[in-house]
């Protein structure tokens, strides 16, 4: 009897939960810092760092990941009760691969230059562990709307890290921001650009430093 009443109460609360309740805001905001996919969960480092030489392709990449994550989470979450557990990986792969193909064909049609710059790395969003990781960890067990929020939060948390990395790599490696020559503009004609930053070495070191700074502020210690 008492549990029945409790159940009803919970149900009622769930129905009347506002579109952006405190819990839901937390779902979105956690991945920005405290539970960041790159620096804390160690997901999605694979393909994305390779495009961070310049800011523009990085932003396109971040947008593509946001798109793929939101829609794959939505689809997986809607059909989650019909997916047999044994073949769930293949089902998720098929969903992600179709969405990534969509993004890649869209880029080929509307921004061919960018498609060439990004090259294989658009296709490699499929195996970007962040997409799969969130589907496994969240979308398989939660309602569609919450899953979309989670996907959005994680994609943004991922996006701001790679855009920050790209900012420093482009600034120090080519002396520009979004193609705009900053140092020439302020009158520093022969700014010595750093070849290491254009190389993959720069990306590793910058992301290591970002993690150091972030963890020193938040006080998170890994054992």
């Amino acid at each position: 009897m008492s549990t029945e009443v409790l159940d009803k109460k919970i149900k009622k609360e769930k129905i009347s939960e506002p579109l952006l309740s405190k819990r839901r805001k937390k779902i979105i905001s956690d991945p920005f810092n405290d539970d960041n996919p790159i620096t804390i969960q160690v997901l999605g480092i694979c393909s994305a760092l390779a495009v961070t030489i310049k800011m523009e392709p990085t932003i396109i990449m971040a947008i593509s990941v946001v798109f793929v994550m939101i829609f794959s989470s939505l689809i997986t979450s809607v059909i989650r009760n019909y997916i047999p557990t044994r073949v769930r990986i293949i089902v998720q792969m098929a969903i992600i691969a179709s969405l990534v193909t969509l993004v890649s064909e869209f880029l080929r049609a509307f921004n061919y230059e960018m498609f060439k710059t990004l090259g294989a790395f658009v296709g490699l969003i499929i195996t970007n562990c962040i997409v799969m990781g969130r589907l496994e960890a969240y979308a398989m067990g939660n309602k569609p709307y919450d899953s979309i929020l989670d996907a959005f939060g994680n994609a943004i948390g991922y996006g701001w890290i790679i855009i920050t990395v790209a900012f420093f790599r482009e600034l120090l490696g080519s002396g520009s921001v979004l193609g705009f020559k900053v140092f020439e503009f302020i009158g520093w004609e022969n700014f010595p650009t750093n070849g290491l930053m254009v190389d993959s070495v720069g990306a590793f070191i910058i992301i290591g430093l970002i993690i150091w700074i972030q963890r020193s502020i938040s006080g998170y210690v890994e054992n």
Partner: protein, 205 residues
């Protein structure tokens, strides 16, 4: 023959999967805490890459390429280009190959399954496998070259992950600043290792 050796050495040292293309970073970071597990994953990657690269090559050349369908269905298919199915096909081939290998190993060699088995499902989502197939298509290789490229890339990944695991095992005894512990120091280490691999760039074998 010289070309093949050259291609293998180049894909191991110069175009290293981890240090140059950032592929396979997730498992590279997550499974490099112990030398033995890193070793197991590395061998599994070499194995899967060596076989999926030629498999995907055959699919690309015989089914997906523009005009490839002519030999089965006749001239009217000359303009059919199934390139857009590339990603789906490749990932399906990789996933099923990995599943198949897992079943075979489980049946015939339980000891090998015990040491390698847990890594095989992980490999499906290892970017270096799909990356290997995509790069191989972009580079326009022949079948033999594609196999060599797959093998070389696998060995490159193996070297990278084993080197990092060995360093991280020693790192346990050192006093690392708090915020850098774990992931942070690993990234800085990877940066230094990548820098070391850069020295191979000018070499021709």
């Amino acid at each position: 023959m010289d070309d093949i050796t050259n291609l293998i050495l180049k894909s191991i040292f110069v175009d290293n999967m981890v240090y140059t293309y950032f592929l396979g970073m997730c498992s590279y970071l997550a499974v490099s805490k112990k030398l033995t597990t890193a070793n197991g994953l590395g061998i599994a990657v070499i194995f899967v890459l060596t076989f999926t690269a030629p498999l995907n090559w055959l699919i690309q050349e015989n089914i997906l390429k523009e005009g490839a369908l002519v030999k089965y269905f006749g001239e009217q298919y000359a303009t059919v280009n199934l390139d857009f199915l590339q990603l789906l096909m490749f990932i399906a081939v990789i996933a099923s190959f990995v599943q198949f290998v897992e079943m075979v190993i489980e049946k015939f060699s339980p000891t090998l399954y015990g040491s390698l088995g847990i890594f095989l499902p992980l490999i499906t989502v290892n970017c270096s496998i799909l990356g290997g197939s995509i790069f191989m298509i972009q580079k326009d290789l022949t079948l033999v070259e594609a196999t060599a490229f797959g093998f070389g890339s696998g060995v490159g990944f193996y070297l990278a992950i084993v080197a990092l695991a060995a360093i991280r095992e020693k790192l346990k005894y050192s006093n690392v600043p708090k915020g850098l512990r774990g992931l942070g120091i690993t990234f800085l280490l990877t940066g230094l290792l990548a820098l070391a691999f850069k020295t191979f760039i000018g070499m021709s074998f």
